[in-house]
């Protein structure tokens, strides 16, 4: 009875850390989503002299061909965040599916799927991603799919352990002994808690995916048509920004934005996981 009350009772609220993450992420997302309205210039057009230092007309200065860097970063955020979100959707979907299958129908399918997850966890991402990205070619969709296929192992493991513990709960055992079918047990007893946990995992994956996309784009493997934060840094490196004072306005801001988005997502995901993972909550 006491446990039922605790389980049904109010969920712990988002703490200060969670709100901080939410605020960081929210600011960056809003600035990117509304880039067409709020960005001061068209980032693809030359609007100043090359290598202009920050001023009131160009708040973050200009790049080597006189494009406004602030506008470039706002537009670039759309690409970076979109790839992060799409990759996280792919990764969470695969991870959740694998986790549920492995956890619920244990036995050989569990063994096979989890060994597969081990392989994905251990293989060094970046070389493999470089290889895959080189083969499939760059576009937002293909990058998102490649990244998604490389990050599903963690959610799969977390979801699996949740399903394992849910499956042996009294009400599931009772339902099964009453003759309920697998689909009914999954739908009513297992999946609701899995989905809320998947949300937390989605946020964590998005943070990883943004970092990975940035690294790929920095290596010049991003979409050449659409600049992301990573490809802004690729151009900065290629045009020798590090050797001039321009690094303070051309190299620092994109990295800080990546860090801000990743950190915001990580903090938010950390809190969500604490709130939404019943296994952690019971402790």
């Amino acid at each position: 009875m006491a446990e039922a009350v605790a389980g049904r009772g109010r969920r712990p609220a988002l703490g200060a850390v969670g709100w901080l993450g939410f605020a960081m992420l929210g600011t960056i997302v809003l600035a990117s989503v509304f880039a067409p309205i709020v960005a001061p210039y068209d980032p693809t057009v030359t609007t100043g002299r090359p290598f202009e230092s920050p001023s009131t007309t160009h708040l973050l200065g200009t790049n080597d061909i006189g494009q406004d860097i602030l506008s470039e970063l706002m537009w670039g955020g759309r690409v970076s965040l979109a790839i992060g979100a799409l990759a996280a959707i792919v990764g969470t979907a695969i991870g959740t599916l694998v986790g549920v299958l492995a956890g619920y129908f244990s036995g050989w399918s569990d063994a096979v799927l989890m060994r597969l997850a081990d392989v994905v966890l251990v293989v060094p991402f970046l070389p493999l991603m470089i290889l895959l990205a080189a083969y499939v070619g760059p576009s937002i969709a293909s990058l998102a799919i490649v990244i998604g296929f490389l990050v599903w192992a963690r959610p799969a493991r977390v979801v699996r352990s949740l399903v394992l513990s849910q499956r042996s709960r009294d009400f599931v055992v009772a339902a099964r002994s009453l003759g309920a079918q697998h689909t009914r047990i999954l739908r009513l007893c297992i999946l609701p808690s899995v989905f809320s946990l998947s949300l937390a995992e989605f946020v964590q994956l998005a943070s990883r995916a943004i970092l990975l996309e940035a690294a790929l784009a920095f290596l010049g493997l991003g979409d050449p048509v659409q600049k992301s934060w990573g490809s802004v840094l690729f151009y900065a490196q290629a045009r020798g920004a590090l050797l001039s004072p321009a690094w303070t306005w051309w190299v620092l801001p994109p990295g800080l934005l990546i860090t801000g988005a990743v950190l915001g997502l990580a903090l938010l995901g950390y809190e969500l996981e604490r709130i939404l993972n019943p296994r952690l909550r019971l402790r």
């Binding site: 920095f218 590090l242 990295g255």
Partner: protein, 296 residues
């Protein structure tokens, strides 16, 4: 940029002027005209004979180039891995020991922040500050190519080139070890033998290092393995920023040149070394924790 056909690199600049027949001949020489499954079967057979193929870009055997580059990557990742593990254990132990105090929360914040940094960007910032502005460390490479240094001076030069890449790698990989060590300390500190050690009247320092840290180290061994892959992956980008002549940069150059044999060879070597390292660690685990033997 991507995608592209290796044809351009096989045939050189005349690729545009080749007739269809000449183009076919180039493709046939490289075996690219066969169906994919046949190419794959040939590839597997070659691997079994340790035959990694011929680099289109460098016109040299892939294995030869890899052997040249591998020591640099091993040096870089080896030093970085030792550094990040040692620092992660030290700070993790101290933070766990001072749980909930301001120093613990501060360290937690710093390490979570470090985990969010893009490695290549951190590398760029370090280059801009320490190599370009302050001129303390070299901007690129693994050694001075034309200095003719020998003996101790040579190794000093190598070490100077190693500082910035290693610092970057340590900073971006250290938090996994830190977080694990801290969590592990928290659970160990709740154990009864810690209370007993305190009850015996041992100094706090002795309780910390002799009783708590040693037992808290076990989960770190597992993270060490996962970090191994992360370090190698991180090294790929960081070698590129620093033009460090390792396998990571080699792979990057191979991507740009569509040098598929080189890419596959590099990836194979990286993956194999990680699998082998994992195997060794699995074998070594019972030495660290005799309890696992019983569970078979």
């Amino acid at each position: 940029m991507m995608p592209g056909s290796p044809l351009a690199n096989l045939a050189g600049e005349e690729v545009g002027t080749l007739t269809a027949a000449e183009r076919d001949q180039v493709m046939r020489q490289a075996g690219l005209d066969r169906p994919l499954h046949e190419q794959y079967a040939i590839y597997l057979g070659d691997i079994a004979r340790a035959e990694l193929g011929y680099s289109y870009q460098r016109q040299r055997p892939v294995a030869e180039v890899l052997i040249e580059r591998l020591p640099w990557t091993l040096l870089l990742t080896g030093v970085a891995l030792i550094g990040s593990t040692a620092l992660g254990i030290l700070f993790g132990a101290l933070a766990g020991w001072r749980r909930g105090r301001r120093s613990d929360l501060g360290a937690l914040g710093v390490f979570i922040f470090l985990e969010s940094l893009p490695g290549f960007w951190l590398a760029m910032i370090l280059v801009a500050i320490f190599a370009v502005q302050l001129r303390i460390f070299p901007t690129f490479g693994a050694r001075d190519l034309y200095s003719g240094l020998e003996g101790l001076a040579y190794w000093g030069d190598v070490a100077r080139h190693l500082v910035l890449p290693v610092t970057t790698l340590v900073l971006i990989t250290v938090s996994a070890t830190f977080l694990t060590m801290r969590a592990s300390m928290l659970s160990v500190l709740g154990e009864e033998y810690i209370t007993v050690a305190r009850g015996k009247g041992l100094a706090e320092r002795q309780v910390l290092f002799r009783h708590a840290v040693r037992n808290a180290l076990l989960p770190v061994a597992t993270v060490f393995l996962l970090n191994l892959g992360q370090t190698v992956a991180g090294a790929t980008v960081i070698e590129t920023v620093f033009s460090y002549p390792g396998v990571g940069r080699l792979m990057y150059e191979a991507v740009l040149a569509r040098d598929y044999p080189m890419l596959q060879g590099g990836f194979l070597v990286i993956t194999l070394s990680i699998v082998v390292a994992n195997m060794f660690a699995d074998l070594a685990y019972p030495l660290l924790d005799p309890r696992v033997i019983r569970h078979g």
